[in-house]
Symmetry: C2
Subunit: 213 residues, 2 copies
Amino acid sequence: MPAPAKALWPSADEKERERREKREAVLRAAVRCFNEKGFHATSLDDVANALSVTKPTIYHYFGNKDEILFECVRRGLESIRDAAEAVEARAGGGLERLRRLMLDYAVIMTMDFGKCVTLTADHELSADSRARFRGLKREIDQTVRRVVEQGMADGTIAKGDPRLVTFTLTGALNWIARWYDPTGALAPQQIAEGAVATLVAGLAPRRDNEERL
Amino acid sequence: MPAPAKALWPSADEKERERREKREAVLRAAVRCFNEKGFHATSLDDVANALSVTKPTIYHYFGNKDEILFECVRRGLESIRDAAEAVEARAGGGLERLRRLMLDYAVIMTMDFGKCVTLTADHELSADSRARFRGLKREIDQTVRRVVEQGMADGTIAKGDPRLVTFTLTGALNWIARWYDPTGALAPQQIAEGAVATLVAGLAPRRDNEERL
DNA sequence: TATCCTGTATACCCGCTAGTAAATAGGTGT
DNA sequence: ACACCTATTTACTAGCGGGTATACAGGATA
């Protein structure tokens, strides 16, 4: 029989796991504070208080405040990147794949780490983290753009400037992080489906009987 | 012959005008700093330096830092509100009017005070300014939504949840402030037209011969 | 000439917060 | 018993930045 959930005499592995979990807990508390009050307005004492510990405890798990923020946005960006890459590996026309990608993207934007990506401005990160931040964002942007381009090539997406189209789409999706209210009437899924439907079909009504996908 | 541009012995009126112009200059310098480095990361010494004056000079024209930020976002919001109201007074179908509104909205988002609206998070303002900020935003949101609803009623806009549709549109437009680069290849007009075209027509190609408006 | 108002500067205070030093307490290995 | 490691605390430093007290210069007023 393996060790119970919380071992009285934890093994080395269990201690290692506990350390990782504590690190995660710091991150989760931090991202909530950042999203609620903003990075600059959040002191590490705030984060520590939220966990009922003191500031040096946080420094036991992270080097400095910037590192904490970067870890938060990294998690968010990696969620998006994973969704983007998963979709790239999928079969189907460009529009169909883009639709799947946008749905995932939208849902991520209602979650803590996803929100953090939108709510964090470049200049809040150190020069170093900022560069990595931008790198990850560019990676995602290029993946989305490739899907858009594929769709334009295979005729499932209307032709246009792929860069501008991509920014328009991701803008609408990113903005969800700014207005989504977990206590509101719309669930993340509903928001995702509604927003994507509007982006795919456009405002102007369609008289043709084109499948809506 | 009236007074020259810069009078040696200015009249009371001219002094009043000069005071207003200096206040404006502070605002313009401030909004540039805020947009570039963020509100919290901008010290009033930064703003003062940008104008080659010192901090107390700024306090001669504004009560505190919060008031400066609020004035900036107010200008941006009022530009948008004016565009929204101008369009409401216009003749035409819902989609046609919404299109005009979105074009103006998009262009405003490439300008200093417009950018400031998007780049400023609620929690950066004092409780008092925040309430007014939200009031203005709600006003704009409702105006846009009314146009959307009108379009859904008159059949020029596809039916859907007006609130969600409005957020999706304004999200795409607001996000322009985050990526527009004045040194880039696309001029504000081109961005506005491209983004609006995508939002109106949607990603899926249209097989019908519907006018694109 | 004395006074007052406006705009600006110098010099300062105070609070907040990132980050650190040092101590403690428990566990682990020897 | 002793040395060591980890997690956490208390108590501190140091610097930044919002905001202010005060002084000063120039023009207007009387």
